[in-house]
């Protein structure tokens, strides 16, 4: 068993396992921030 595998086993040991999850996406916020920050000059953003 590798050190990393051992870590993964160890990490689950002390507490209660909740769930295996994945990253989620806030679509509205993504569009809003891309509009505001994607370009050097926000005025260049055209939808």
């Amino acid at each position: 068993m590798s050190e990393v595998q051992a870590l993964l086993e160890r990490s689950r040991a002390p507490g209660s396992f909740v769930e295996r999850r994945r990253f989620t996406l806030s679509r509205d916020k993504a569009v809003e921030k891309l509009r505001e920050f994607a370009l050097r000059d926000p005025a260049q953003y055209v939808l």
């Binding site: 050190e3 990393v4 051992a6 990490s11 689950r12 002390p14 909740v18 996406l25 921030k33 370009l39």
Partner: protein
Amino acid sequence: MAMELSERSADLASQALDNLVNQFARPLDFLRELVQNAIDAGTPHVDVWFRFQAKAARTQGVLEIHIDDFGDGMDERIIDGELTRMFASSKEDDLTKIGKFGIGFTSIFAIRPEAVLLRTGRHGDFWELVFHPDRSFDKVAIDQAVYGTKITLFKTMEADEVESFVARCRWTLSYWLEHSDVPVRFAGADLAWRDGEETPAPTPPSADPFAAFAAPSAPVGDHGHLAFEQLNRPLALDADLSVPVNAPDLTGFVGYGKAPLHAFYNGGLTLIRSSSGDALGAWRRELGHLSFKLKGRHLEHTLTRDNVLHDEAWLDAMNAVSNAAWRLRPLLLDRIAGATHPGGNPDPWLWHLAAECRGARAHRDIDDFAKTLVLPLASGEPVAFSEVLAQDRRLGHVLVSGEHPALDESLIADGLIVLSDRPAVRAVLRATWDPFWLGQAVLRSLEPLGVRRLPFVRRDQPIVCTDDVFALPELIEDDQLPPDERALVEATRSLLGTTGSNLGVRLGDFGGLGVEDELALEGPEEGGVFSREPREGWFVFSSRSQCLLVNRHHDVVRAQCAVAHTRPALAAYGLLCALLTSEDDRDLLPALLQATSETLP
């Protein structure tokens, strides 16, 4: 249907995560993102440290990269709603926070770690998250209290790669956090660590977490066998001359450095640090030659971090730099004046002025500083630039020193301005001329014809070495001349006298002056500085009344000397024929020939 929507949403999130991870062109920039998050969590300091465990009997092992903070930590709501939800950061309206995008944490995948362990806690809830290479993660509630947030990345690598990897991590942190408001502490890799050993806690819970503020210079501490150094340092500009920036919500410095530098910071985090001028927009031409560092809480970077956002805050910052540049210029002129004296070296300051003229187009204000600016004479003494310009208008060029100090001293003694000939002086002279003045004038006249551009026309400052227009030959007194040369000189004077010319004739030594090929020079009869003129038609006997200094070693002179002791008049005529090159002077030849023939037997 709901299941289908959920799957599509998951696919979209997966694609977004892929894109975000791949946008980190430099994988080690994950350190910047994690430290930025730590700072925004209110930590009094951030510790970055490493340890490596080689696998038994193998050179490969696992490097642990630890980023520990002592800030607010996270509860389940923040973990689910912000940390692992892309773009959902709640920090965008909080000026005390640097991060705004809600994507920085995804950078942990940029170095393709085998696993990432995150422990955190808030309000009595403590959590452990383990992130996998497929970017899924396990979330576990734990009993062990965690102070702040502790992140560990596990990366498999060869043992001999560890040192350079850690060095690159240090460089990355130093670059992005060089002026962080929050202490960033760094400890190199512990290569002696073995599994089962006690982890050297960077800062025990009982230690004062604010202690790092008290000693801002490295090294800052030693915990276990890890020696920490502090990477960030106070905001300062490495420049020859600088002034502080005075503007609301902005701190920093503007100055003249060895090379341009344009650096913007928010909370001490480097937004962009460039010398290309890309961060300056339309200010590039005017301010591109300067060095500056600006720190402001309203300054932002773009999503991809390739530039600073050109918004109102940036515009205020550029105006602040422009104002500071105006305060710099008189200080620069003072430095030039202070260094311009015999034995002084104003060159570094003159180079900055040349850049200022080329970049900021300071030459437009030349009337304002022409009396303040001084340039070094050949003697090292200062002379006002306004006097240089006045002589330029009179002579049509600017004189700079040549290879013969005695000549320069004679010219200065005669009241001429002879500048020290050095690249920095020439650079200032050239830069103080507007290279576009004539082009613009021509363009204005051509505008009615529809011409908008002209790729030519530039007035270059005529800069002339004293050697090119003057010489200081050695005059030989008549009683010092050998008989043949003396006979030639006396016969030439006599022959000239028959034409009514009062031009004097003397022999001189032109050796070592760069004028050895010249047959004659014109100058004062008593000796001194002789002018060098175009070789053909350069003097007119009838209109001048000075002295003609003839090169005693010239082939023509030597040939005439050979016959001067037997036929001096004929030798004199031969010499004058060689000297009379203008059309006006050649009209004298018949009379000279007549006078010569009358002396022949």
